[in-house]
């Protein structure tokens, strides 16, 4: 039971960091990124391949994975920053689906649908609960640091700069601020966060396959990011609620399969209603 609790905690923290990464991109470049799991997958596969095939140190493999995700994110960001936000958002969905297909079909490297097993944890010869504690420590530390940073930054010039990127990038550009460069940088930073989440998850479960980084997860992350707006705390709350929902149903005697279906139905309706409410609440269609 403790093991399952640790698993859920790691899953929730991993998802929270993906949502933080999506929020960074959304606020800095007006793009809702549907490719977060793909970036996490790039890091996870790089970590897994370098630590299993090339026998590299697990910590070094994780850093390599994060760098790979960051590089792909930066290149994507440079391309996408030149598109209009709505087109770029849809293009990120294409990136997500394309990368998932690469994970699935480039079987000589990724082992296709079979996945890669036996990925070593950060601590050598560690037990499952030790791996979980290690992952929770890393992901939890990043989450707490991010939450604190968001609170500290609130009301400062950095927050104003971020808001300006979302609300009036043309003004910023006119004032001489390198908007496109800062957007590419935000893509790189957000991709590094997503990469950290993906890499740590791979080392925690010691097995990855393409289904872990599918398009459904990508849409889920954007749903949570969209619902939580710029609030990191709300994002954490919604994510934890989402992960804990089937477990709370299981406690009430609902079977796991029915619980998963109920989770999906409830979350789907919640998203649709929240979007409909947020649009209808105002007579003028204000997206802020």
């Amino acid at each position: 039971m403790i093991g399952y609790g640790l698993y859920l905690a790691t899953l929730a923290l991993s998802l929270v960091i993906y949502v933080f990464a999506a929020q960074i991109i959304a606020r800095m470049s007006q793009v809702w990124p549907f490719c977060m799991p793909a970036l996490g997958g790039i890091a996870a596969y790089t970590t897994a391949i370098s630590s299993t095939t090339f026998q590299l140190n697990p910590a070094l493999s994780l850093i390599l994975g994060i760098l790979a995700a960051s590089l792909v994110g930066a290149v994507s960001g440079i391309l996408l920053s030149r598109m209009s936000p709505d087109r770029a958002s849809i293009a990120t969905l294409a990136i997500q689906i394309g990368w998932t297909a690469v994970f699935l079909n480039w079987s000589t490297v990724t082992r296709g649908a079979l996945g890669i097993s036996g990925i070593p944890g950060l601590i050598e010869q560690s037990t499952t609960s030790q791996r979980a504690m290690c992952s929770i420590a890393i992901l939890g530390l990043v989450t707490v640091l991010w939450l604190v940073a968001r609170i500290r930054v609130s009301g400062t010039i950095l927050a104003s700069l971020e808001a300006a990127h979302f609300e009036s990038p043309a003004f910023l550009s006119g004032a001489g601020w390198p908007v496109e460069n800062s957007r590419a940088l935000s893509w790189a930073a957000a991709s590094a966060l997503a990469g950290l989440s993906g890499g740590v998850w791979a080392q925690f479960v010691s097995f990855i396959d393409p289904a872990t980084f599918g398009a459904s997860g990508a849409l889920l992350i954007v749903c949570i990011a969209l619902l939580s707006g710029r609030s990191a705390l709300l994002a954490t709350g919604i994510t934890v609620g989402f992960v804990a929902f089937p477990e709370s149903l299981r406690r009430l005697g609902v079977s796991s399969a029915s619980g998963a279906a109920a989770q999906q139905i409830a979350f789907g309706l919640f998203v649709a209603c929240a979007v409909a409410w947020s649009i209808n609440r105002s007579a003028i269609y204000d997206d802020r």
Binding site: D86, I90, A94, L104, A262, L269, V271, A276, N280, Y285
Partner: protein
């Protein structure tokens, strides 16, 4: 000959889903993931009717009617984005994804996630034409796409409904001021889109097993068609469907079916890049 048959069938399927995405994208301003519900859910509705003792034909009629109703209802849940407020595109797209998630969850709860076989609609699974073969499902896709284009061609020439839809798609607020019942027109358009997606789903189910997992590559191809067919021209939509359908067939022959999703993703990316970097400069 075989390539032509495959390309025609692929174009037919792409045109059905492409038209569905296009009509919602143009009139409501977002990519409607709810269409996946019609695409994936319609074969399950047919199965449910057949299991309850009804015929396949009745099942198809019920499925199309239910999908049309769902399509029309979604327009009341998620409003149309005004033409000058593009940022709503992602928000509404995500809202429609929520509807799809809820629908898929319902399918999981009722039918489970195991593949189910679809009732046979034709006596022969394959038909031979000059040493080439075409499956009954593909033949149905061709027939239904042809029917759809004939109806659309007829509508666009003779019906005031089409003119009202174009006015609504161009600017729904102005259309309202001119006395056009914009909400009803948009609901009818969405109903027609969901029927087309349901037809695509049912004809696909003839050849492959029925599962609650959607073919994202097909949705992506439809999105590419909707993007390429800028404006409200049916000719552009038809041309885009044929082009993407043929390109998909060519990609399957040359690089293999397993890379189809990568191809679809690249096609969507290329279409977006073209619209951003080339099309703007031409104008």
């Amino acid at each position: 000959m075989q390539f032509l048959l495959n390309a025609a069938a692929s174009s037919a399927l792409v045109s059905l889903i492409g038209f569905a995405i296009w009509i919602v994208y143009r009139s409501r301003g977002y990519y409607d993931f709810g269409l996946l519900l019609a695409l994936v859910g319609s074969p399950f509705l047919v199965l449910a009717v057949v299991r309850a003792g009804g015929s396949s034909f009745l099942g198809i009629l019920v499925a199309l009617a239910v999908c049309a109703m769902i399509g029309a209802t979604t327009t009341f849940i998620l409003p149309a984005a005004p033409q000058d407020r593009k940022p709503l595109l992602v928000r509404l797209t995500v809202g429609s994804y929520g509807l799809w998630l809820a629908g898929q969850g319902l399918l999981f709860a009722v039918f489970g996630d195991q593949p189910l076989s679809f009732p046979q609609l034709a006596n022969a699974p394959f038909f031979n034409i000059r040493q080439s073969s075409i499956s009954s499902g593909e033949l149905m896709q061709l027939a239904m796409a042809l029917l759809m284009w004939l109806i659309l061609a007829s509508l666009s020439r003779r019906s005031t409904y089409w003119i009202a839809w174009k006015a609504t798609a161009t600017n729904n607020w102005s259309a309202l001021y001119y006395g056009i019942p914009a909400q009803r027109i948009i609901a009818c358009g969405a109903g027609a889109a969901y029927v087309c997606a349901a037809v695509a789903g049912i004809t696909q189910a003839v050849s492959i097993d029925v599962t609650p997992y959607p073919a994202f590559s097909l949705f992506l191809n439809g999105a590419v068609v909707a993007l390429i067919a800028e404006g409200l021209s049916l000719f552009k939509l038809f041309f885009a469907s044929v082009a993407i359908g043929s390109a998909v067939t060519l990609a399957i022959i040359t690089v293999g079916a397993v890379w189809q999703e990568v191809f679809s993703a690249l096609a969507l990316f290329a279409a977006l890049a073209w619209l951003t970097f080339v099309s703007r400069k031409i104008r």
